[in-house]
Subunit: 216 residues, 4 copies
């Protein structure tokens, strides 16, 4: 009779999440949104755990071993791996919103440049676009959406506190960090990707309009 | 002897149209022209029906079930699916022009930005390009083509009425909606794609020329 | 004993040229340099014939039947197909230069925009780039290369005469036509593609530098 | 009993390096960073040899024969091939730094345009980006990194002496040559690619910010 340590999460669910992360992140990598091994990605596993990419791996070539399990305080579970410092920015969303299932953090050039240009104002206002309807809860283009831009810091507790303060004030599907990139999330991988693609597209339009002069 | 409800359209024709839509839209999606599950696409089925994409699906991964049948008033036929609100903008073209066989609606960044910049003028004038010959009926570059830009609204009847008024005045292979995207059409999928590609290319050139200063 | 009409060219050589054109043009099409079925491409067959793309086909999906044979006056040989009006711009090069083996004509956005911006000056001067060494005959970056920009016309005889006048004055590996695109050539497909890629790259750099201000 | 000349390097190691170069350079070529057969790439073989691409080949279609061996003075070893003139810029790094294992030299449009714009200042300052952490040895974004821009010359000894002078003064993972492109390196192929991708990304952001005005 063997003694087997019971895992605190379902390994079959982990395998399924890992496959989804690997396939989706490969596509994001091919778009150039994860340069130089940057960016990190997670899916909720259950009400106490999330599956998240190990830090520093080439995001176009992830394998199952590159996906680790963390608890919702961001501590490694099961394998003795050091999770990315930014894990906390994922788990704070899972902890706060029971229906959030996926968090995607990317570093596209559009996101980075927009974050630098609008850091002084603290937000990018998106207005007048049909694609605002891509954000869950929006049924019309006749609305405005502010993407907050947070100052960058290597202290994740400071960032997490700022995000919590934002979430206290408004519903939110994403934010920028100055010189850094975008966090976007959703209830499922599909919804988080839809939000991520919509942010990327609309921030790109804003940069183009800034380049080309005010419409008139 | 079985009683079988006769479909008002040919299911084999539908299957063929669905395959064509799936293959063509996958390519448009890879170009980034259908961000965040936006855009919709149709092919005429017969003189009373069209095959059109179901709303909200990822356009890079369409399957046969994501193509539905509507009558030319835009009502679902055969399956109890809710067609996209914009279906009316497809069917008005099939109703008006018996030889139109395909309508493509995309949301590229070039299309969206151009629509914002030229909404005030109500049109983008394309002039001096060899590629104007890509539009059916044009045999020379020594011509000018105006792409109308309509105000965006969630009321499709308003948009459809504006399109009808435009079509009363001039031949047309496409129009922009402000902050939204492009509608392009043709007698076949190949012709509609040729028109779509020509609009995208020429609008992109116009934005570049605006950025770079007037030629001189 | 059968009587068989002898073809004036080697069908095996044609098949080989067709394969090369199909494979190379598919790659150029994927770069977006052949929008809306535009552009045409040829390879020399022998001292009296060339293989050239039939007009109006989707350049990303060419098949062997889309490659026809013309004599060096641009008349169809073997099959009763109407060659593209621009065939003359290919054959004049084969007629004039016995060692030229390949002519590539593309319509990229960079080429079209550069042709519009520099039409007034009649040329784009390329200077100070290491990649100038990509043009056969150049061994250093310390040189300047002028890309002529011709006025567009639907009369190919006028264009051909202007090209001949240019070739009387200077060695040349390519030219632009205003609002239209680029012609580039070489002794082989590989050399013509190297020249084409170098023109595209350097014209793109020139547009960027114009956008960004003079270096200093 | 056969007499066999012993190679001064391990052929199995060469084969492995060649495979790595071929696979990685194909990806860089698909990004458009090696236009018109430009660019060259190497991996250290041992403490006296490196494997490097033969000059003038299409970087998207390299085969094993396109990778040659040079000693650390840049002389061909084993096969009578003429190494690229720029080989010296690779071997000087292997000679100087025993732990450097890979040197990548590319010609992207961003790199070329940045080199032209910043040649007068002699450097591009990169500051305020999270991605600065991609460079080995950087643990924070709160740092600045200067990318030197050297004047272009066809005399590699002059360039090599300038690079040596730079390396005497500071740690460095890459430099630009005016009108030419970027050299980037690392201890392994993976690290060199991470540095190359980070340079490309950050130079691209700098060009965008220059285009769009100072953040504020």
């Amino acid at each position: 009779m063997t003694t087997q340590q019971k895992l605190p999460y379902d390994p079959a669910a982990l395998r399924k999440r890992a496959e989804s992360i690997i396939a989706n992140v490969r596509e994001l990598s091919q778009l150039g949104w994860t340069p130089a091994t940057s960016s990190n990605f997670s899916l909720r596993l259950d009400d106490a755990h999330a599956a998240i990419t190990v830090s520093g791996r080439d995001k176009g070539r992830l394998v199952e071993d590159d996906i680790m399990v963390v608890d919702l305080d961001g501590r490694a579970v099961g394998r003795p791996l050091r999770p990315s410092a930014e894990t906390l920015l994922h788990t704070q969303l899972y902890r706060r919103f029971p229906d959030i299932g996926c968090v995607l953090h990317t570093h596209s050039r559009v996101q980075t440049v927009a974050s630098r240009l609008y850091a002084g104002q603290g937000r990018v206002r998106l207005e007048g676009y049909e694609l605002l309807k891509a954000f869950e809860g929006n049924a019309t283009h006749e609305t405005a959406l502010d993407v907050p831009v947070l100052a960058n810091t290597q202290d994740m507790n400071v960032l997490a506190a700022q995000v919590d303060a934002l979430l206290d004030r408004q519903p939110l599907w994403g934010y920028l960090i100055d010189g850094h990139g975008l966090y976007a999330w959703g209830r499922s991988m599909a919804e988080a990707r839809r939000h991520l693609e919509a942010f990327e597209f609309l921030l790109g339009c804003e940069l183009d309009l800034r380049r080309l002069g005010t419409p008139g």
